[in-house]
């Protein structure tokens, strides 16, 4: 696949943050990603769309080496290069823990730890060896503010994260992902378990977050991709069918397959 023309306008002023190059990935014998390439631009929101089983979550989970947790998964060629240091995230010599320290993730279903709100956010700092109480307090507060949750929880930081509503829990998970000051945050269908109001607040938050961090989001909701992303990649059967500026993908896709999916004729 080649990057479509018309990208230049959207790219203007954007630096490359990461670059997926001819990535092949296998679940056992199943060829889940086939020579996938796509750029990820710094401080932009990039959305991955496509029907169920197309490989969009698989691609997302390559970015923080989540696949390494399970036997039988195999990166079979190509890589993901992270800039500015040109590190190939998938190289055998690169520690997946180092990758996860640089790139954090928000999951489909809110998954706060059964700990206090404070400890949930502090955890990503504690694994980085931070133990100074004042420093932790500051970082937790700013992460919760960044996730637009501070006003709701500032007086009950000791309560369990699970006592929050679904939307609040997801924002707590965003705060946890944000606290460590990552370079990229991965969102794996972050609103699919939430009601429309909570979804709207998460979407608003994501658009604000790109001031601070690069965002890669998988969504099965095309309107959501259209609303919040700057770039969109359409995947089908493990291949990147089309990648481009979101407006262009939704208004004037270059490929017939993309158009069929966007207009709801397929998928």
């Amino acid at each position: 696949m080649q990057i479509q023309t018309g990208l230049e306008a959207g790219v203007e002023g954007a630096l490359l943050k990461a670059d997926v190059r001819d990535l092949d990935f296998y679940y056992g014998a199943f060829h889940a990603l086939k020579r996938v390439s796509m750029p990820i631009y710094d401080h932009r929101v990039t959305a991955l769309i496509g029907p169920s089983g197309c490989g969009k979550s698989t691609l997302l989970r390559c970015f923080n080496r989540m696949h390494d947790l399970y036997p039988g998964n195999r990166y079979a060629g190509g890589g993901i290069v992270l800039y500015p240091d040109d590190t190939n995230l998938l190289a055998p010599g690169v520690d997946p823990i180092e990758v996860r320290m640089r790139i954090s993730m928000v999951f489909q279903k809110p998954n706060p730890f059964p700990k206090s709100i404070y400890e949930n956010v502090a955890y990503s700092l504690r694994v980085r060896g931070m133990s100074n109480k004042n420093e932790l307090d500051d970082r937790v507060e700013s992460a919760l503010k960044g996730a637009a949750l501070w006003n709701e929880v500032s007086n009950r930081l000791k309560e369990l994260g699970a006592n929050l509503s679904g939307g609040q829990q997801q924002r707590l998970c965003i705060a946890r992902a944000l606290a460590s000051d990552p370079e990229i945050i991965l969102f794996d269908e972050p609103t699919s378990a939430l009601d429309p109001i909570a979804t709207a607040s998460i979407e608003e938050l994501i658009t604000e977050l790109k001031e601070k961090v690069t965002i890669l989001i998988v969504t099965h909701n095309m309107q959501q991709a259209a609303r919040i992303s700057d770039f969109t990649g359409y995947m089908y059967l493990g291949e990147m069918v089309e990648f481009g500026v979101t407006d262009q993908i939704f208004i004037k896709p270059q490929k017939k397959a993309t158009e069929d999916y966007i207009t709801g004729r397929f998928g």
């Binding site: 923080n64 989540m66 947790l69 036997p71 823990i97 996860r100 320290m101 954090s104 993730m105 999951f107 279903k109 998954n111 706060p112 730890f113 059964p114 955890y123 990503s124 504690r126 694994v127 980085r128 369990l160 699970a162 006592n163 998970c173 946890r176 992902a177 460590s180």
Partner: protein, 308 residues
């Protein structure tokens, strides 16, 4: 349009189908009663015989040739000490093995074989453990017929129970929590110590206590390794001797345990001894029930703060 006749037919079908509900619930109650009633009858019978015999003296006297002077002091102290050794050795080993198998072990055929064997170990008759322990602990390691040998034997016996309980408790933790920890950049050990162990501790503890409740009543392996059936002195109290060597005198002391004391008394011809046996049995069952009660309470306390 529904006709009244159709409605009657539907109701007849429902009534007929519901007979099975009735039949099964009766069957269920009956099966339940077989277990519960049998236990209740046994327990009440034992209580009626034994409870009048219970007195302070019964707990503070050594066994004696005369039934009315005999007590369970050496037996309950022995049981407590043996259980202490069992818990201190089986819990760390079992939990570590369970955590290793769930979190660290590579998924290959060696791991599979180990897993199958652990399930099999739980089914081995306890007397076999007794024989193993007689050869290994008593003679080969030279621990003798001591509290230590008995405690380690029972630890082996309940190790599979603890390993299986640990693994079940770990598996009950949602995958999303697991992934959440790794996604924060945690290592496997950080994930285990910060999340896996704290969240599974209720389940692990339940397994530990179920195992201990089984061990407390075991007689065969303890007899096999040569516990005394009549003993009229106590081991030195744990950690009371001259340090450093004296601290552990108690683990090498000869001992007896509650079930052996009971067994000893029931094999005596005099009727007065069978009353002693009933009283000791009552105490033993009470100890077991108390442990189970503790398990329920602790599980409730620990689970209160764990919500997914």
């Amino acid at each position: 349009m529904l006709k009244p006749a159709d409605l009657a037919a539907i109701r007849a079908i429902i009534t007929r189908a519901k007979r099975w509900d009735l039949f099964f619930s009766l069957l269920g109650i009956l099966s339940l009663m077989v277990g519960v009633l049998t236990f209740t009858v046994l327990f009440v019978d034992m209580a009626i015989q034994g409870v009048p015999r219970l007195s302070m003296d019964f707990f503070t006297s050594f066994p004696s040739r005369r039934a009315e002077h005999a007590g369970i002091l050496s037996a309950w102290v022995g049981t407590v000490l043996v259980m202490l050794v069992t818990a201190l050795s089986a819990v760390p080993l079992g939990v570590a093995a369970g955590v290793y198998l769930e979190e660290y072990a590579p998924k290959n055929w060696i791991t599979d074989i180990i897993e199958i064997n652990i399930s099999n170990l739980a089914g081995i008759p306890s007397i076999v453990y007794g024989l193993l322990a007689l050869g290994l602990f008593v003679y080969y390691f030279g621990f003798g017929q001591s509290v230590l040998s008995a405690g380690l034997t029972l630890a082996l016996l309940i190790l599979p129970v603890i390993i299986v309980a640990t693994r079940e408790a770990i598996r009950a933790i949602p995958q999303s929590i697991h992934e959440g920890s790794y996604a924060c950049g945690a290592t496997t050990w950080q994930t285990v110590s910060d999340h896996i162990l704290p969240y599974s501790s209720a389940g692990i503890l339940t397994g530990v206590i179920i195992g201990m409740a089984r061990a407390i009543g075991e007689t065969a392996p303890i007899i096999t390794i040569g516990a005394l059936t009549f003993i009229a002195f106590l081991p030195t109290a744990p950690f009371s001797g001259d340090p450093p060597a004296g601290l552990f005198d108690w683990i090498f002391a000869p001992f007896t345990v509650m079930p052996i004391q009971m067994f000893n008394w029931t094999s005596r011809p005099e009727a007065a001894f069978s009353i002693n046996a009933a009283a000791a049995g009552f105490v033993l069952v009470f100890m077991t029930l108390a442990m189970n009660g503790l398990a329920i309470y602790v599980r409730y306390r620990l689970r209160k703060n764990i919500k997914w």
